[in-house]
Point group: C2
Chain length 489, copies 2
C-alpha cells in the first residue's frame, strides 16, 4: 500500500491533518470550527474519559450537570473572567424560527421571539456554577464541595485545528469549594498531580508540571497550574490546567459560609479541566509516518488477529481460542476475518489505526506451532509458540506502554535546552526547537516582548525548579530562576 | 422526622416537585427551563447511561460526536422535521460580546459580530448527521452505519418540569443508515425491544410497546414506535421512541449508495432516543410519601450501613468486614459513620434518597449475633444472623428489583380499562385514570377531537394488539382494533 500520510519530515502540520483524517479520528463539519468526532476517535476519548472519571471519583469527586447557557448578567459578574472570554462567546438571542414569507420552504429567525436577556453558550462554567453554589453552601459543614462535569463548551476561535483548537470541544471541568485557602490550593495541586499521572501513565506522554505566569493565567484565577507536554515537532502543548481561583468567584456571586466559629467568610475555589485537545497530544506524541500509535491502555482495540492469507477452519479455531483467553485477561481483541481483503492491506489498515499488537495466523506457521506477533510501536515481528502467545501478548502490551513513555521522555528530555542570551534562545528555537530554560526578569512586559520577537511563550515556571541567580535574556535584569519557554500549540 | 414531602394523595404534582428537590436530584437554574442535575440525581443517570451504552454496543453500535450547532440552511432541508421543531429552537446569531460603552463593567452583544448564517442549537441531530453521512456513505459496503451519540439538546419549551420537560436535556440519539427498508424497520423494532428490556429489567418500569398514530409521529418519520409507561397518578409517560425515517433524510441530504448491482439508491434511516426524562419516569413509578425508591440495579448506593446509636470499634469492625464482602460481590455500599447525626435522622435521610437496603448495626443486636436489615420498598425489617447477612443482602437486592417491577406491573395492569362509549371513556378518565383501550375510526380529525374533549391522547397502537371489530367511541364509524388512550405527561 502506498504511503497515505505526508511524512512528518516533509510537513508536520499536514502529517497531523492527514493522520486525523485517514485514521478516521475526526473531521471538520458544516459548522465553522466545529468537528465531528468519528467512532474510531471517540472510542479513544471514551477510554480517556472513563479512566479520568475513575480517578476523579477515587479522589472524592462526584459528577453533576449544569446548564449549557449562561445569562449575560451572570456571565459578566466576575469581571476578569468575563473580559477574558467575551470575545469568543456564541450568543443565543432568539428562541424561535418561523416560515420566511419571502421564500417558500425557508425559515427565518422570528423577530418576535427575541430573548429579554441574551444567553451565552458556556465557554466555561464558573459563572453558572458559582451562582448555583450560592444556594448550596451555608455552613462549613457543606464544604468541601467537590464536583466535576463532563460537558461540551464553545469558544469562538478564529483559527481552528481538529482536536487542538475547535469552536466546540468536549471536556471535563471540576469546580470545587473550600473553607480555607490552604485546602483549595492543596486541591489545585492534587488535581495537577492527577492530570500528570494520567498523562504519563495512561497516555504515555511525559509532562512538566508548573505554574503559569500572571500573563498566561486563566481569566479569573489567582494561580493557574499546568502540565506541559512536548510534541515531536518541538512545539509544546498545554495538556491540562488546574486553577486556584481564590475568593474571586465567591465574591462575585456572594458565596459565603459560616465557619465553625459561626463567622461568615467567603468560600475558596478551584476549577480544572482537560479536553478533547488531549487527543491531539496523544496523536502527536507517539504516531509515525505509517499512522497512529496508541498506548495500549487507551487503545479501543489492543490486539487484532489477521488470518494469513485468509480465514480457514484451522485458523479460525486457533484465533477464537486466543480471543477467549485474551478477553479473560481483560485484553480487547478483534478478529479481522474479512476474506475480501488481502493480509497486506489489513496490516497497513491496522497500522494506520494504531492497533498496538497484531497477530498473524498462517497455516505454515501453525504447522511449526508458532504465530507471528507484530508490535505497532517498533514494527518488530517475532514468531511465538502458540501455547505461550497469550502470556506473551499481555506482557508485550505492558512493554509497549512503557516503551512509548520512555521514547517520548527521551525525546522530551533531550529537547530541554538552556539558553543564556537572546541569540542562543533564537538559534535553539530555529534549529532544535523544544523547551528552553532561560532567565526572565519576571515582568509581563518582557514576556510579551520575547513572544513578539520569537513567538515563544513562557509555558510555566516548573514546580521542581532549582533556584539559580542569573540575568534576564532580554533585559539583563536580575532573575532568581530559569523559566520554561517554547513555541506552543 | 416530620414528613418532608407533600403526600401523593394530597397533591401528586407537588409531591413530585418535593421529591426531586428534597432527595436532591435536580433543581431549576438561573436559565429559564434549564435544570441543574445534582450529584444524587446524576449518579442514577450515570448508571442508566452505562447500562444503555453497554446494550447499544452489544448490538453493534458505536459512539461518535456531532456538532451542537446546525446551520439554518441544513436545519430546514428536511421540511417536516424543520417545521416540527422550528417553534422551539434556540438560535445563535452572534459570536462575540464587547464592553457596553454606556454601562461600565457590563457587556453587550457586539453588533459587528453577527453570523452570516444563524446557527440552531440542536433540538435533535438528524440534519447535521445526515449532512455528514452524505460523505461517509458511497457503497453498500459502508452500510449499515450504526451510530449513537450521548449529547445535550435544546427545545425551547414554554411549560417545563424538572426531568420531564426541560429546555435543555441530556439524551442519547441513535442514527442508523441501511441498504434496505426491511433492515431499517428491523433496526427500529430491535431498538424498541432494547428500550423495553431496559425499562422493565433495569428501571423495573413496565411498558407497552406500540406504534404512534400519524398525528403523534416524530417530525420527519414514516413511523414512530414508542414505549409507554404508567405513572402512579394514572397518567402515561412516553419513555422512549424509535423512528423509522424511510428515505426522507436521505432524499433531503442526497445520501445515496451504490448497491451490489452498482445501481444508485437512497439510503434508509432510523433514529431513536431516550433522555433524562427517564429519571422522571423512574421517580414516579416507584417512589412513595417517604421519598425516592430506586430499583437496586440503578441505585448509586445499594446498601447503607448505620451504626446504632453511633460508631464504636466493635461496630466499625463488623461494618468494614461486611463492606469488603459486599463490594467483592459487586454491591455498592456506604457506611454512614457520622457521629453527629442520630440513627433516626439517618434512616429518614436514606429513605428519602431511596437507598434500597439499610443495615443497622447495634451492640445489643451484635451480642445476639444479628443485624437489622431494612428494605426500602416494603419498609420490612428483619434480624439476620451476622454470618449470613451478605448472602441475604445480595438475594434481597434481587427480590426488591423484582418486587418493584411486579408491583408496578400489577398497578399498570389493573389500570388498563376498556371503554365502549365516550361517557364511559370520560368517567374512567375522571375516576380511575390509567390507560383506556377504545375503538377509534383511524382519522386524525377524530383523534384531535377526542383530545379537545378529554385531554386524552392516543399513546399508541399496541404491537401485540388483538384485532377486534368495533365502532369508534366518538363517531361510531367502524374500527378494526382498540387503541391505547391516556392523559400523558
Amino acid at each position: 500500500m502506498a504511503k497515505v500520510l505526508t511524512p512528518r519530515a516533509e510537513d508536520y502540520s499536514q502529517w497531523y491533518n492527514d493522520i486525523v483524517k485517514k485514521a478516521q479520528l475526526a473531521e471538520n463539519s458544516a459548522v465553522r470550527g466545529c468537528m465531528v468526532i468519528k467512532p474510531t476517535g471517540y472510542a479513544i476519548w471514551e477510554n480517556m474519559k472513563s479512566q479520568l472519571d475513575r480517578m476523579f471519583k477515587d479522589t472524592g469527586h462526584v459528577n453533576a450537570y449544569f446548564p449549557l447557557f449562561v445569562p449575560k448578567s451572570l456571565f459578566e459578574a466576575e469581571e476578569k473572567n468575563a473580559e477574558g472570554f467575551a470575545k469568543e462567546c456564541a450568543v443565543v438571542t432568539h428562541y424561535r424560527l418561523r416560515n420566511n414569507p419571502d421564500e417558500k420552504g425557508k425559515l427565518m429567525v422570528d423577530p418576535d421571539a427575541r430573548l429579554e436577556e441574551e444567553l451565552v453558550v458556556r465557554p466555561t462554567s464558573e459563572a453558572i456554577i458559582w451562582n448555583t453554589y450560592k444556594n448550596w453552601i451555608n455552613s462549613y459543614r457543606d464544604l468541601p464541595l467537590l464536583i466535576n462535569q463532563w460537558a461540551n463548551v464553545v469558544r469562538w476561535e478564529m483559527r481552528t485545528r481538529l482536536f487542538l483548537r475547535t469552536a466546540e470541544f468536549l471536556w471535563q471541568e471540576g469546580h470545587t469549594a473550600h473553607a480555607t485557602k490552604e485546602e483549595a490550593i492543596e486541591e489545585t495541586k492534587m488535581i495537577l498531580d492527577l492530570y500528570a499521572d494520567f498523562a504519563e501513565n495512561y497516555m504515555a506522554m511525559p509532562v512538566i508540571k508548573g505554574v503559569k505566569t500572571a500573563n498566561e493565567r486563566f481569566a479569573g484565577a489567582d494561580d493557574t497550574y499546568t502540565i506541559e507536554a512536548l510534541m515531536q515537532d518541538g512545539k509544546a502543548l498545554q495538556a491540562g490546567t488546574s486553577h486556584f481561583l481564590g475568593q474571586n468567584f465567591a465574591k462575585a456571586f456572594e458565596v459565603k459560609f459560616s465557619n465553625s466559629n459561626n463567622k461568615e467568610e467567603y468560600v475558596w475555589a478551584t476549577s480544572w479541566g482537560v479536553s478533547t485537545r488531549l487527543m491531539g497530544g496523544l496523536i502527536m506524541t507517539h504516531s509515525d509516518d505509517d499512522g497512529l500509535v496508541v498506548p495500549p491502555k487507551l487503545a479501543a482495540t489492543q490486539v487484532v488477529i489477521v488470518p494469513i492469507p485468509k480465514p480457514k477452519d484451522e485458523i479460525d479455531e486457533v484465533a477464537e481460542r486466543i480471543m477467549v483467553e485474551l478477553k479473560a485477561k481483560g485484553v480487547s481483541v478483534k478478529y479481522d476475518r474479512d476474506a475480501k481483503k488481502r493480509p497486506g492491506f489489513k496490516f497497513a489498515e491496522h497500522e494506520l489505526k494504531g492497533v498496538p499488537v497484531r497477530l498473524g495466523i498462517g497455516m505454515r506457521d501453525l504447522e511449526k506451532g508458532v504465530i507471528e506477533v507484530a508490535r505497532r510501536d517498533t514494527k518488530e515481528k517475532n514468531s511465538i509458540p502458540v501455547d505461550g502467545v497469550v502470556d506473551h501478548v499481555v506482557q508485550l502490551l505492558d512493554d509497549i506502554q512503557n516503551n512509548l513513555f520512555n521514547k517520548a521522555k527521551a525525546y522530551r528530555d533531550s529537547h530541554i535546552t538552556k539558553a543564556d542570551s537572546m541569540e542562543e534562545f533564537k538559534s535553539i528555537l530555529e534549529e532544535k526547537g523544544g523547551f528552553i530554560l532561560a532567565h526572565w526578569d519576571g515582568t509581563t512586559e518582557t514576556e510579551i516582548k520575547i513572544k513578539e520577537l520569537t513567538k515563544a511563550t513562557i509555558r510555566c515556571i516548573p514546580l521542581d525548579n532549582e533556584k539559580e541567580a542569573g540575568q534576564c535574556i532580554l533585559t539583563g535584569k536580575p532573575s532568581e530562576q530559569r523559566v520554561l519557554f517554547a513555541k506552543a500549540y
